[in-house]
């Protein structure tokens, strides 16, 4: 899992003030693949993504993208290198039109013709956005805003997309739709994806490789097929093993990964 890695994190530690959110995370994302990071609330998943995209500077460790170190760069420089971030909770610009939102995704680019072409491609993925192009983004439904957020990130023509909880607050059907497009973008454009998701079943289905994060540390990694088979994953993330032999459930079972 390294030779063809487009993104590598080595021993990255980040903190919010005195609170350490990730403690020595190392992971690598092979070019063209979908990699997912699983973990409970507060495990540090979003922090990993924010650290990669330069919103937070890591205190320790190295991040390299296409062989170049990128830790400590400005978010703008990181976008220019080809990493775009679909933030948790969509974070569209509520009073700008859908079209202007998309153009803001291409803010760092100056190749107008290619931007126009990409706009067409994006409208092709999500035709509803073309219909709503003149509408304020704040008036869109949650699902449409998520589509907008993904499209906006695509407008920077990224090599790597960081997806933070794309299913947050969406109905199962919309979630399926969004993930179908995500896998399609990955297949058709070869865009590498690093996906953070609460819905572990879905994430393990679409991703190729997975990491399990607990309290800021990576505790397990494997291909998603094998992760799905693991008992711990089934129990903690997929909720499949819920009753014991005699119908009781041991909530207090002490669990260690070591």
């Amino acid at each position: 899992m390294s030779g063809d890695a487009i993104l590598t994190l080595a021993n990255v530690e980040s903190a919010y003030g005195p609170v350490k959110a990730i403690r020595g995370v190392s992971l690598s994302v092979p070019a063209g693949s979908i990699v997912t990071v699983l973990g409970a609330n507060g495990a540090g998943k979003s922090t990993i993504l924010r650290t990669i995209s330069g919103i937070i500077d890591p205190q320790k460790g190295f991040i390299s993208f296409e062989g170049q170190p990128i830790q400590g760069l400005d978010p703008g420089q990181i976008v220019r290198r080809g990493i775009s971030h679909v933030p948790e909770g969509r974070e569209v610009f509520p009073l700008l039109s859908v079209h202007d939102n998309l153009m803001m995704g291409a803010y760092t680019r100056s190749d107008r013709d290619a931007v126009a072409a990409d706009l067409e491609t994006v409208y092709g993925y999500f035709p509803i956005l073309r219909e709503r192009a003149r509408q304020e983004a704040g008036q869109l439904s949650g699902g449409q805003q998520q589509m907008l957020a993904i499209s906006r990130a695509l407008m920077s023509r990224p090599k790597l997309m960081l997806l933070d909880e794309p299913s947050l607050g969406l109905s199962p059907r919309l979630t399926q739709e969004i993930f179908a497009i995500v896998t399609r973008i990955n297949r058709e454009r070869g865009t590498t994806m690093l996906l953070v998701e609460q819905n572990a079943a879905l994430a393990l289905e679409v991703a190729h490789y997975g990491y399990v994060l607990e309290v800021g540390r990576i505790v397990m990694e494997d291909t998603c097929e094998r992760l799905r088979e693991k008992e711990d994953i089934q129990e903690f993330y997929l909720g499949m093993k819920d009753a014991g032999v005699r119908g009781e459930r041991r909530w207090k079972k002490k669990k260690t990964w070591r």
Partner: protein
Amino acid sequence: MQLTQLLVSGLSQGCIYGLIALGFVLIYKATETVNFAQGELMMLGAFAGLFGTVYLGLPFWAAFVGAVGVTALLGVLTERLVLRPILGQPAFAIVMVTLGLGYVGRGLITMIPEVGTETNALPTPFKDEVVKLGGLVIGMEHVVVIAVTVLLCALLYGVFRFTRTGIAMQAASQNQLAAWYMGIPVQRLNGLIWGISAAVAAVAGVLLAPITFVHANMGFIGLKAFPAAVVGGFGSLPGAIVGGLVIGVVESLSGFYLPEGFKDVAAYVVVLVMLVVKPNGLFGENLRKKV
């Protein structure tokens, strides 16, 4: 006829309030702080115009452009050198710093020998000229104020609506975090906003100069522009201009029809009524702020 005359002078005074209010709102929207030195920026702009016309002998409009440019630069530098280093401090601290900047500006101007403590006349090519419209006699300086304000608003509208940088400024004010994610240079745009609002203040200063003269305390007009911004719904650019016009007209009318002294409190009466009737202001956004 009397009424129309009052309305016109009220409107032109209102334009000045509106322009200063515009400066308040621009900076507030971009950085969520109120720049209480806005009136002083206007005063400095007026002095820059005075310096250009009287001491450099430039023609009025050249001095006008020069003054606007110099003040804009001053705005950018203020943001870069004073406000950016204290970024992240509580809003209260930042507001106090801008108040302090106002005092410093006033103090520095009064240190200039002879000019600083005097009330200076700014010579204009349109002095004593009048426009006769029907039975109306309107001073040229009022016409110029209104015309320039209209032009400036159209220009700003165009910038914010159609240019990439302008849209990015809107984006950054609506969702700063997302703007960071998109690679929009939020800091640099905030500096630019300070430059624009200083430039707008300078326009107001040079336009006001032929009407009220140039002196170190002319920046106190900011105290009346602030209510204008509130009436418009702090956070709305068109609202700032409309709020300024409302205050200007009310002031002018109450100065004529109401007993002595009402003129000076008119602005605050309007604001109080507004806060009771429509606390969000005329153009206030009803969107609640997201955490």
